[in-house]
């Protein structure tokens, strides 16, 4: 029984002609083909938005109002650019405290009890709620009831609709980030006499700040690009923002409104706004990755 006797028979040599090896190659090429088919449209989207959007972009666009329909050329996305920041900012005002607070409850107080399991389940369900339903909900709650000082469509309503969509992301990442904090830190803080509140705020939350910030940034990135919740809450306005209780333009709604217009000037603005929006959102995603790299130490 020497190794040469095996070699002589060739039993252990790789035989590419075997059915199973041919099948292997066939499956590998199918998987490769699927990957290529899957990746081509994804690259095409990015390339088209970046190239076409950049071609129509002028620096002055950030300071100009959109043109009147039918006007030859020119005009800008200034009001929508500003509006996206305002509406997204408003949504943060609501979603960050509620989301981080809810996450703190789940991780630090609730643990595995029935109520927090229910809240976790609810968070998952809320994450699956279609974005248009968030818009319909805020429309019914605030816009049609005129509950906010008699205003109908308003930036505040838009911000609230977006915050409904941001909330689950922030709660989940806060909950999971806090759970990763070593138990010894809590015991140590409680052991030297800190109260539960001080332990949570001064010790536990700061050591989980990277995952929490990641969740917040991802939530903002998601809500900045949302359109469906805004079309009947923040609505649209061709003018500069005029108070938080007035309708406000955002880039996403501008793209939706202008994409289907038969005027070249509007379509070009839609591409330019897409470029700006995509760059902003990709930048925020990269920021989130950068922050979360601190968490992995």
């Amino acid at each position: 029984m020497t190794s040469s006797s095996f070699k002589a028979k060739g039993d252990l040599l790789f035989k590419p002609g075997l059915l199973r090896n041919q099948g292997n190659r066939l499956m590998t090429s199918i998987a490769a083909a699927f990957s290529v088919i899957a990746i081509i449209p994804l690259i095409a989207v990015i390339l088209f938005v970046l190239i076409k959007g950049f071609a129509f972009l002028r620096p002055a666009m950030f300071f100009e109002l959109p043109p009147v329909p039918g006007q030859e050329m020119g005009g800008g996305i200034g009001n929508a650019f500003l509006g996206t920041f305002i509406v997204t900012g408003l949504s943060c005002l609501f979603a960050i405290p509620v989301g981080v607070g809810g996450g703190i409850y789940l991780a630090e107080y609730g643990g595995e009890n029935k109520f927090s399991e229910f809240i976790r389940f609810g968070t998952n369900v809320l994450a699956g709620v279609p974005s248009i339903i968030a818009g319909v909900f805020i429309y019914g709650l605030i816009v049609s009831s005129r509950i906010l000082f008699g205003s109908t469509f308003s930036a505040v309503a838009g911000g609230l609709a977006l915050s409904v969509l941001m909330l689950p992301t922030i709660i989940k990442t806060t909950d999971e980030g806090l759970k990763l904090v070593p138990q010894e830190l809590r015991w140590g803080a409680l052991g030297v006499g800190a109260s539960k509140f001080v332990t949570t705020i001064k010790v536990v939350v700061p050591s989980a700040i990277a995952p929490i910030a990641t969740g917040v940034v991802l939530g903002i990135a998601r809500s900045a690009g949302e359109t469906a919740p805004l079309i009947f809450t923040a609505f649209f306005s061709p003018y500069w923002p005029d108070g938080l209780l007035e309708p406000m333009a955002t880039m996403s709604v501008m793209i939706f409104n202008y994409a289907i217009m038969p005027y070249e000037a509007q379509v070009q603005l839609a591409w330019a706004a897409s470029f700006v929006l995509v760059i902003m959102i990709l930048a925020m995603n990269l920021l989130a990755r950068w922050i979360s790299s601190f968490a992995q130490r």
Binding site: I119, L126, V136, G140, G225
Partner: protein, 318 residues
């Protein structure tokens, strides 16, 4: 150290009452904030339900089975939209699942160089972040003109099948299916990749060790071991597809009358709402809210089912 110094060291000091107040106050605050999730969720059902009450009284369950959406006569039935929602999302899944899972397998097994793998998976993740309204814009100006000749060829050959019976001309169900597929791919790929990565290395080594080929071990060992995550991801994608509004609204054509052909303009619940909300009359608004309630219930069921499947099928390692 004198004895008096030691006794002062061990002297029991009580917390000031203000500390306890802050402690309890903070606890109540975070309980309240956590409760907001439940309040919002229940609030959505109550608000949408109460606004839909008028239409529910007027049309009852007939709403779901009637395809007459007629603002002039003020009678509404959402069958076209409900059918469109189910059709577009299921067709998109049929296209996206093999592509997405195939890509995930390709990215987790060592077919290609690790650097390339990293680049591709990062790109897939970033693409999940592209706003749907931007994809809609792209679909109108790039995708639809590109696929129209292909659809035309299918129509010429298979036009006798009712599904392909109309001449593709601009917006329609099939372009909407394609853009949905593109939106679902990153979700399915990312989640499948994560669950394949979590399969213990031992399983792979054991499969190779008893002489399984690479694909035997992938198809018979690794995929079954990761199936809970993969199916969970598919269900999540299904929920996303059914609720997707902007890209679909921009490319589906928003036709309220029923048409069996996939090449004709169609409608989904979300696009119906997005399109008609602005200029809706009183009963029409209520009918739209009814449609929103139907959508809410369908996506709710899909999401709960997804969570249940993930828990049920999850193989326990460790």
């Amino acid at each position: 150290m004198s004895a008096s110094g030691q006794s002062s060291l061990y002297k029991l000091r009580h917390r000031p009452p203000s500390d306890k107040l802050v402690d309890n106050g903070f606890k109540n605050l975070v309980v309240l904030l956590a409760l907001m999730v439940a309040i919002i969720l229940i609030g959505i059902f109550i608000v949408v339900g109460s606004q839909a009450a008028e239409a529910i009284k007027a049309f009852g369950l007939n709403f779901v089975f009637s395809s007459k959406w007629d603002p002039v006569r003020d009678t509404y039935g959402a069958f076209t939209a409900i059918y469109g929602t189910l059709l577009t999302s299921l067709l998109a899944l049929v296209l996206a699942v093999p592509l997405g899972v195939g890509t995930a397998i390709f990215l987790t097994e060592d077919f290609i160089n690790g650097k390339v793998r990293e680049v591709i998976s990062n790109m897939v993740e970033l693409l999940a972040a592209i706003p749907s309204v931007v994809l809609g814009l792209w679909a109108i100006f790039v995708l639809e003109p590109f696929v129209r000749p292909i659809l035309m060829a299918i129509h010429n050959v298979l036009g006798w099948i009712p599904f392909f019976s109309t001449v593709p001309s601009g917006p329609g169900v099939m372009p909407a299916v394609f853009i949905l597929t593109i939106m679902l791919l990153p979700i399915i790929t990312a989640i499948s990749r994560d669950s394949l990565n979590q399969v213990p290395q031992d399983l792979r080594q054991a499969a190779y060790g008893i002489g399984a080929t690479r694909w035997t071990s992938i198809l018979r060992v690794l995929v079954p071991a990761a199936i809970s995550g993969i199916i969970g991801g598919i269900m999540l994608a299904l929920g996303r597809a059914m609720g997707e509004t902007m890209a679909v609204t921009m490319i589906i054509g928003n036709q309220t009358s029923f048409n069996i052909s996939w090449f004709a303009p169609g409608n989904t619940i979300a696009s119906l709402i997005a399109n008609q909300f602005g200029e809706a009359g009183e009963l029409q608004m209520s009918a739209l809210m009814y449609a929103a309630l139907v959508l809410m219930i369908i996506t709710f069921l899909v999401n709960v089912l997804a969570q249940w499947i993930v828990r049920r099928l999850a193989l326990k390692y460790e």
